[in-house]
């Protein structure tokens, strides 16, 4: 088989062998329902509790504050709807940003139809939420601020600590979608005033179909799913034991030596950014040069369509994306790129590469060898390019 160059780790990651191994018993012989009292059930219960502790340890919180869900999307939905509905009598205003993932944006839009008011904060050119705008947006009815930890498309890391302090001072709940951050950057909940945090297993070499929501002790939140008494009565559904175990294992592995791994991935990122900007004219780096995820590269090549770039890369075995995987079905220019001020034409020519610890310098070399050719070929045929 042709070698695969996997540069789309923001979309999903390869499952770690050790994670897979930890899961297998719970897909085979240890099939007990964690709610059952006999030994087979208790084994499942113990496995879940142990995974919960691993997640708590990785984030610096208490195990009782971790709730397993089916996905990052579910966690976002739960956090936002749950807080909104539980605190309705306190106020009906929510603040979020224009560059959130659709799991947050569409949930907020849904709440608008339910009578809530939502402020979608603009961001600066580098994708950082404007703190001044945030302060201005706060009203006495504001019950929730939801700002992502790091953006999934342009990799910008938001000033979470500052936002947390503002939220705390004003007595507003603060939720952060940390799906892209967990496992990539160090997060210590002890030092951050975060009330709710979303994470997703498959973004850090865990399995798909498992996420978690951190809910700080004391946060008033309603349930999203109603049914049995699982997850201490907060999230009904028979526990997906194997996936939960996998998530625990994955987060433990991902957060071990996280800084060192981050440094390595960052060297790949820097090599890639520098190479692209040097070799390909009329290219814009999106997002912040410094405050970005260690593995994120997002560039716009003017005058061409991202679709064509992806197709040509695909034919060479290079996996990349334009915008996020969740929106590439729609093919409309990314709301994130539009929010940072790009015009439609430019936003169409975007390419996102996201590296992981498993990528190598040689792989980046290969990319830098083929990409300039692809771009110049596509530009040669572009009516926009020839006009200039």
């Amino acid at each position: 088989m042709k070698k695969l160059y996997y540069f789309d780790n923001s979309a999903t990651t390869k499952i770690d062998e050790r994670v897979l191994k930890s899961m297998l018993p719970y897909l085979k012989e240890n099939y007990g329902n964690a709610s059952s009292i006999y030994s087979l059930g208790r084994e499942s219960r113990e496995a879940i509790d142990s995974a919960r502790e691993k997640v708590a340890k990785a984030l610096g919180c208490d195990g009782k504050e971790i709730f397993f869900t089916n996905s990052g999307t579910e966690s976002d939905n739960w956090a936002i709807k749950g807080v909104a509905f539980a605190n309705r009598e306190k106020g009906n205003h929510i603040i979020t940003s224009r560059i959130e993932h659709h799991a947050v944006l569409h949930t907020c839009e849904y709440l608008e139809k339910q009578g809530f008011e939502v402020t979608y904060l603009p961001v600066k050119k580098n994708g950082v939420v404007d703190i001044k705008e945030l302060k201005k947006a706060i009203r006495k009815e504001t019950i929730l601020i939801s700002i992502m930890y790091a953006n999934n498309e342009i990799g910008t890391i938001e000033p979470i600590k500052e936002i947390g302090e503002i939220a705390k001072e004003k007595g507003i709940y603060f939720h952060t979608d940390a799906v892209q951050a967990v496992g990539n950057v160090e997060i210590n909940l002890n030092e951050l005033n975060i009330d709710l945090l979303t994470l997703s297993g498959h973004k850090f070499n865990g399995p798909k179909g498992i996420g978690a929501l951190y809910i700080k002790n004391g946060v008033r939140i309603e349930n999203l799913l109603h049914g049995g008494g699982q997850e201490r009565g907060k999230r009904a559904s028979t526990e997906n034991v194997a996936n939960i175990v996998g998530l625990g294992e994955a987060i433990e592995l991902a957060t071990e030596n996280i800084e060192k791994k981050g440094e390595y991935v960052k060297t790949l990122r820097e090599k890639c950014i520098e190479g692209i900007l040097e070799k390909i004219p009329d290219t814009i780096l999106n997002g912040d040069r410094e405050k970005r995820l260690p593995g994120n590269v997002n560039v716009c090549f003017k005058y061409i369509e991202g679709e064509s770039i992806l197709l040509m890369l695909d034919r060479l075995g290079i996996c990349a994306s334009s915008g996020s995987a969740c929106t590439s079905g729609s093919l409309d220019p990314s709301h994130v790129l539009l929010a940072i001020g790009l015009d439609h034409e430019t936003a169409h020519g975007s390419l996102r590469l996201s590296f992981s610890k498993d990528n190598t310098e040689e792989e980046i070399d290969y990319l830098l060898e083929v990409l300039p050719d692809i771009i110049s070929k596509l530009r040669r045929m572009s009516p926009l390019y020839n006009k200039e």
Partner: protein, 359 residues
């Protein structure tokens, strides 16, 4: 190395089988579904709905070829939808499929293919391409599909020599029945999907409603008059009428009346008896010639004045004082020659060329 071909896949029987045949012929086949229009409801499932994308993807995976989705919404809107609307506003009846083939499928898509070093584009059209030879004066020819009931050469008359040299129509030699059989044989779930008939971006065949929705215009009422200019009744907007139409003409007259002409200047619909809609002549512009380089002297050909009309014997000649227009004189009078539609000229089953009817 295998030659590469980009095939437009709508998820329907024709393009699916076309992709299969190309693969069997040894091409490196890449499937593409073009997203061109948002406004279509799912139930109608025409070529640009999400379910069409899914169908196409499923077929591609069955055939073991890669499948991509390309966004052509912007150019489709500009080159096809807006053209469609503006023609109607001018009292003409356009054929958007011809515009789509010219600008999107064999325009944008072909351009993309070229830029990606892909040699050919292909579609599930029923038409054939004859390779250049001495016999063809070294020109690529466009020939009717073998299945005359499905022939689609009419909607392809705008293809240039360059476009023809880079296009493949694998269904050209097949009958629809055979295509369905192949689809069944290879187990395509779409084998029994019904043929699409209507204009893909207009649901329910309601053109005037579509134009009203898109333009948000209030169309002025006007008079329905006879050939002598006598007012017979009122209409609710000229965009609701097309030449030859009988429905929707409310007048004081008892006899059946048909639209003969749409007079935009005076916002009038001119009606007459059925015999009045038969004419001998038409003028066409925006010509594209395939079998010949250009029209030098009058030529006896057969012509289609709309997609499903019979071929009619006629003579075509240049109009001396207006460059780029031809006069078409029919041996027998034709019913409802409609400005905005295309006239396509044939020599037996070879497309000579064609143009847009102006009057």
């Amino acid at each position: 190395m295998k030659k590469k071909v980009l095939i437009g896949m709508s998820g329907g029987v024709d393009s699916s089988v076309a992709a299969y045949l190309l693969k069997n012929q040894g091409y490196d086949v890449i499937g593409v579904t073009m997203q061109i229009w948002d406004g279509v409801s799912e139930e109608n499932g025409t070529c640009c709905s999400l379910s069409a994308v899914e169908d196409a993807r499923r077929v591609a995976s069955k055939l073991g070829i890669p499948h991509y989705v390309f966004n052509f919404k912007k150019s489709f809107d500009k080159k096809v939808v807006q053209y469609f609307i503006s023609e109607y506003l001018k009292g003409r009846t356009p054929n958007p499929c011809i515009a789509c083939n010219k600008h999107i499928k064999f325009g944008e898509l072909l351009k993309r293919a070229n830029s990606m070093d892909i040699e050919y584009v292909s579609t599930g059209h029923y038409a054939q391409i004859v390779q250049p030879s001495k016999k063809t004066n070294n020109r690529y020819l466009l020939k009717k599909g073998k299945d005359s009931s499905k022939d689609q050469s009419y909607v392809l008359y705008n293809l240039t020599q360059e476009q023809l040299s880079k296009s493949l129509f694998p269904l050209g030699k097949l009958r629809k029945k055979k295509v369905r059989k192949i689809a069944e044989k290879i187990g395509l779930a779409v084998a029994n999907k019904k043929d699409s008939q209507e204009i893909c971006f207009v649901t329910d065949n309601n053109y005037s409603g579509f134009i009203q929705n898109q333009t948000k215009k209030n169309f002025k009422k006007g008079n329905i008059v006879d050939l002598q200019g006598n007012i017979l009744g009122q209409h609710n907007g000229i965009h609701k009428y097309t030449v030859g139409q009988r429905k929707g003409i409310k007048t004081i007259s008892n006899e059946p009346l048909y639209v003969i002409k749409i007079d935009t200047t005076n916002n009038q619909v001119i009606v007459g008896k059925e015999e009045d809609i038969y004419t001998h002549k038409l003028i066409a512009e925006d010509l594209n010639w395939i079998a010949i380089k250009g029209l030098e002297k009058p030529m006896k050909v057969k012509a289609k004045i709309r997609y499903r009309s019979e071929d009619a014997v006629c003579t075509i000649s240049n109009i001396e004082d207006t460059k780029g227009t031809v006069l078409v004189e029919f041996k027998e009078r034709q019913r409802a020659i409609t400005p905005g539609q295309s006239v396509v000229f044939y020599d037996k089953d070879i497309v000579i060329g064609g143009g847009i009817i102006t009057k």
